[in-house]
């Protein structure tokens, strides 16, 4: 006997209906708003005004809009880095550590390359950061490919090890000689990334980020290496059977991933900080995992997601200042949005139909 049931049900469908696609981001925003509005109210603020400051006001002036781009730059790079790995089925959670590896290299090169023309020094720094990130990614990647040691765990552990390496360097040989603060000496002027727009902080790293997005798109969709990556990511045994060198593809993707994360470190050192510091990254590596996932492991998605996270990061401080809401609202909102989005993207794979 059929029990009484809800007359509509969710049915899995392979292609989401077209009308639903633009609706999804709107739904995500609305749900996030509803959930966080409660928190904003407990902080005795008006949620609508808070969201105005959150999402609109950063876009309302050129200065703050450029700041959104500045904030998106490292996220774009780590997002691309993580996507390379995840698309190949290699779960690199280590972008954070790889970013710092790149940053160490950039700081070192930035110090020693004083006097070398920028046109040479800056490419060298980018290459150096790429190689350093790659080198740090090499250990877990080799362990994975050669010994089948799970990369989720090793990359996560490598992040902690890198944090201690940075701490040891900054509290040891590189402690700033003038301030005594745990930060490296400043990099030479000629190795600093130039500004794209005068009187703003938008620097060359943003271009590097855009290039990374373009490279990701190109490799994933236009090259046979990209198809190999996706094949390995979606079905290892089958890819292997079809003659794809799974180990090499995985290794290469993992190394590219680490290298690009390393460039994110270069961009922060040479574009923003001009020093190596222990707090160089506001968890950009971990946020990269989130951005890659929300971006659906494709270039356009990663681009949009990183801009959006840059916006929220920027907006959070504005809300806090303008309305006296604790600055941590930004973090909470990002998290809620992530979790809501995870749920919604899943919904996208279903259709609502009336029961027969």
């Amino acid at each position: 006997m059929e029990a009484k049931r809800f007359p509509y049900q969710l049915v899995k469908s392979n292609t989401p209906p077209l009308w639903m696609r633009p609706l999804i981001p709107v739904l995500i925003l609305l749900t996030t708003f509803l959930i966080t509005a409660g928190l904003i109210l407990t902080a005795q603020a008006n949620p609508f005004r808070a969201y105005y400051f959150f999402l609109i006001s950063p876009l309302s002036s050129q200065v703050s809009f450029l700041e959104v781009l500045v904030k998106s730059t490292p996220l774009m790079l780590t997002g691309v880095a993580v996507t390379f790995a995840f698309a190949t089925g290699y779960y690199n959670i280590g972008a954070e550590g790889q970013l710092y590896a790149g940053a160490i290299a950039a700081a070192w090169l930035g110090i020693v390359l004083g006097g070398v023309p920028a046109a040479i020094a800056i490419p060298l720094m980018i290459i150096g950061g790429f190689l350093a990130g790659m080198a740090w990614a090499l250990i877990p990647a080799l362990l994975k490919v050669r010994l089948a040691v799970d990369e989720v765990v090793t990359t996560l552990l490598m992040n902690s090890i890198m944090a201690y390496i940075v701490s040891a360097i900054l509290n040891g040989p590189w402690r700033d000689p003038t301030s005594g603060w745990p930060q490296s000496p400043e990099i030479a002027e000629n190795t600093m990334f130039f500004k794209l727009i005068p009187r703003s902080r938008l620097h060359f790293g943003f271009i590097v980020g855009i290039v990374a997005i373009a490279v990701l798109w190109f490799i994933l969709t236009q090259t046979s290496f990209g198809l190999k990556m996706r094949a390995v990511g979606l079905g290892k045994p089958a890819a292997q059977f079809a003659g794809i060198n799974v180990g090499r593809t995985t290794l290469l993707a993992a190394l590219i991933s680490g290298g690009i994360a390393g460039i994110a470190g270069v961009s922060e050192v040479a574009g923003i900080q001009y020093h190596l510091i222990g707090d160089l990254s506001a968890n950009y590596g971990y946020t990269g995992v989130i951005i890659a996932t929300l971006g659906g492991l494709n270039a356009i998605g990663v681009f949009v997601a990183s801009l959006f996270f840059g916006l929220i990061d920027t907006g959070a401080q504005t809300v806090s200042r303008a309305m006296g809401v604790p600055v941590y609202l930004g973090q909470v909102t990002q998290a809620v949005m992530l979790l809501v989005a995870l749920g919604m993207y899943l919904l996208q794979r279903y259709r609502i139909v009336r029961r027969a």
Partner: protein, 306 residues
């Protein structure tokens, strides 16, 4: 020297307690096939909720209870994403850590905002079992939760996993959820249960810091202890007793490092070497175990029937 070692052992148990609690919690989750990267956030939130409720209610016990309930709740939320929705486990876990660390600080600011000395309350006191014994005296001078952790929670975890039907279901669901489903046992129910227990233990680990060790809540109170717990679960090969040993090794190195510093000993290597040691050792352990590392086979894999 003897005194040094005795004190070191005492400190080792003290330092390991929150990590072992959290690691056992993570063991339950991972045994059921869910990698809970929300651990760091759940510990943080547990530390705060425990403190807040203890402060407002005036009872440490009520505080601890609420911390555990909060942990269970967010363990279950992790379940909602990874079990019910079947979403990527890393991302869900990182999301929960992001959410809870933000939420903790948000609430901390609302309740205790802007004070330059951290709010504090009288904490649970140390219980001395053999105060006069020169060796066991210092070692058996611990908080009650430390005794409970090592004498009850760890052995109980072993017993539950290997000697009860519930444990059989947890292990099975982490190995082959299809089998559990076909046997008429609800896969989500078991996974939710394991995540709930796990979350409760993680939060208890956090609350140990705020209600036992410090009687206070501050920023940075967890400082990565959750990630250490993750490493230790792997190091311990998902077996409670070995996980506990991993926790003790970590606690031991940490305590030793502080003691060598306190003795004014100039170490030939940066002190960070000691702190990084547990992670390095875990990676080496993974390499040695290699292909044979007995990952729960269904770890990270969502299960859905249709």
């Amino acid at each position: 020297m003897e005194v040094f070692i005795v004190n070191l052992i005492a400190a080792t148990f003290r330092v390991s307690t929150p990590i072992v609690l959290a690691a056992i919690g993570e063991t339950y989750s991972e045994r059921a096939g869910i990698l809970n990267l929300g651990i760091e956030g759940i510990m943080y939130f547990g530390a705060f909720v425990g403190f807040l409720i203890a402060d407002k209610s005036g009872s440490l016990w009520v505080g601890l209870l609420f911390a555990i309930l909060a942990g269970v709740l967010f363990g279950l939320l992790m379940g909602f994403f990874t079990v019910t929705l079947g979403v990527n486990q890393h991302v869900s876990g990182l999301g929960i850590t992001l959410l809870l660390s933000g939420l903790t600080l948000f609430m901390f600011r609302l309740f205790y905002g802007g004070r330059s000395t951290p709010p504090s309350i009288p904490s649970f006191q140390v219980i001395k079992v053999l105060p006069d014994n020169p060796i066991l005296g210092p070692i058996l001078s611990q908080y009650w939760l430390t005794y409970v952790t090592f004498l009850v929670i760890v052995p109980l975890a072993w017993w539950i996993l290997y000697r009860t039907n519930f444990g059989l279901k947890i292990r099975s669901v982490g190995e082959n959820p299809e089998a559990v489903d076909a046997a008429g046992v609800s896969v989500p129910a078991i996974r939710y249960a394991a995540l709930g227990i796990g979350g409760g233990l993680m939060a208890a680990g956090g609350a140990f810091l705020s209600l036992f060790q410090l009687g206070a809540f501050t920023h940075g109170i967890i400082s990565g202890r959750g990630w250490v717990a993750i490493a230790i679960v792997i190091f311990g090969n998902w077996q409670p007793i070995r996980v506990m040993l991993g926790g003790l090794i970590f606690g031991g190195t940490f305590a030793l490092q502080l003691r060598l510093q306190a003795m004014g000993l100039q170490l030939p290597v940066p002190y960070e070497t000691f702190l990084a040691l547990p992670y390095i050792v875990t990676i080496i352990a993974l390499v040695i175990a290699g292909r044979n590392a007995s990952y729960p086979a269904a770890l990270l894999k969502p299960y859905r029937r249709e």
